[in-house]
Symmetry: C2
């Protein structure tokens, strides 16, 4: 993996105006290997913060508005101070322009509650040029379904469990990917404890049923997918219907195509679910990835 | 809060021998406010690591063996390299001796999966002298019960959700404490989605029923409590029976005493559950805290 480039952001309140040197003066490129986070930062001791990962094409971060909307929403769910989106927009541009334009990349935005007791957010960006060949987009992935432990109506019943927030507390997501690998799969799809399709540890789920693209509705405690939003916008242009609804686990097996969607990997067709081959729509896969790669938002 | 003292540990594999300078040479006290964690460390971007918080009395960390057993267990559940407990023991002693002996304190041990792509654990200690007056031990706390979202049989069904591991992914625990405060309570007790008492966001639950001390059994996806273990050892000396079992939510209301137990706060008597006053055993509370404070393990 090429070495990531880290940019430290001197996080400003949402209502702050840019300083004399502009927002640019609040963004500093860290030296290679430089520690930038204190040992008492709640990001590092409690996973207490939020993040976003944006795809970068030609040095241009993609779907910035959708990611910033979700960032602000996650921050609100965690009762973090609202992010200053103008500042982050400038920081994002600086990080994007540090990446090579001859390949795809990604930028992770980390916004922490900050150092314990200081009540001041900390944040940084991690810009990474990809050396992935993105074989996932043509070869697809085998997935296993794994229980997320929560019922699908969790959001109403227990908002303190932070459903719908993209927090830094991702140890479970990482453990789920290890479990999938242990079962010989490339990725996992979470099911609610009462059997509904939720999301994958790092991506959204998309299905095609005839002329309709379907995704699980987000009030079942999952993240709104930024790439899924882009795909639905494309679908409307292409005359396909779109639907957010409850999706049964069995729907994965009898759809006309299933994909995992994420910002850097883009649309990955699923070829097997729990060891059973499923229908793969190679034409739509190609069309989706071509359109997602043609964005310069 | 007095400023915490941070010690960076150059984490060694479990089977490593101490270097020429001894394990002492692998522990470095960070300067005040010094960043010690890289922006790509998985502790800070994914909450992907484990931790322990030990109480410190007279500069002496308490229940070290129990905490180290749990640390090693958490690491195993996360498939982290096993910690070198001899190294951590030396580091813990160094951190403890940096704390003033005229008051209580705590040490947090953080063990991260390390910087993404480097496959090398990182770790540090945070030693804090307490300025708490520990009124909790005499005045007690009001608690609310809050749904943890998981059924009590999660451990068997979904180990990839990391039940029983003390991970750095604690955003939900922190959000639960905010929800408790919003409801006018001092703390929360998690219930499983099927109604069993689990634990609190940062402590274990203890009940007295006649001459028996009871705690929820840990195979329902909760942490083994280190202070609860100390309390059960004391109970045996005092001729009280002890029991690990399934505990119903209604048991909280009709016990002869309920406590939250943790390493620094020690035994906090619960005075109200969901707005209903419950029996408070002041004598046993005093006896427990006196005995826990008299330890010099």
């Amino acid at each position: 993996m090429p070495e990531p480039i880290v940019f430290v952001v001197d996080v400003a309140p949402a209502d702050a105006s840019p300083p004399a040197g502009g927002w640019e003066s609040t963004v500093r490129r860290a030296a290679s290997g430089e520690p930038i986070v204190r040992g008492t930062d709640l990001a590092a001791t409690r996973g207490d913060g939020v993040f976003e990962t944006l795809g970068v094409l030609d040095g241009c971060p993609q779907a910035v508005d959708a990611h910033f909307w979700r960032l602000a929403n996650s921050a609100e769910l965690l009762e973090l101070p609202a992010p200053n989106l103008e500042q982050w927009r400038v920081a994002m541009r600086i990080a994007g322009s540090a990446l090579p334009t001859d390949r795809q990349g990604g930028i992770k935005l980390v916004l922490s509650r900050g150092v314990e007791g200081e009540e001041r957010s900390t944040g940084w960006l991690i810009a990474t040029a990809s050396d992935d060949d993105f074989a996932n987009r043509t070869e697809g992935w085998k997935v296993v379904t794994l229980d997320r432990g929560y019922r699908h109506d969790l959001s109403e019943r227990a908002p303190w469990l932070l459903p719908g927030a993209k927090t830094l507390s991702y140890a479970v997501n990482m453990a789920t990917l290890r479990e999938a690998a242990r079962r010989g799969a490339d990725n996992a799809v979470y099911l609610s404890s009462d059997g509904y399709v939720m999301e994958a540890p790092q991506s959204s789920v998309l299905l095609r049923r005839g002329d309709t693209l379907v995704t699980p509705k987000t009030d079942i405690g999952i993240l709104p997918g930024t790439t899924q939003l882009s795909v639905f916008a494309l679908a409307s242009q292409w005359g396909l219907a779109t639907e957010d609804r409850l999706v049964q686990a069995s729907d994965l097996l009898d759809s006309d195509g299933v994909w995992l969607l994420s910002s850097v990997k883009l649309a990955t067709p699923i070829t097997e679910v729990d060891g059973k081959p499923i229908a793969v729509d190679r034409e739509l896969t190609e069309r989706l990835n071509a359109a997602l790669l043609a964005r310069r938002e």
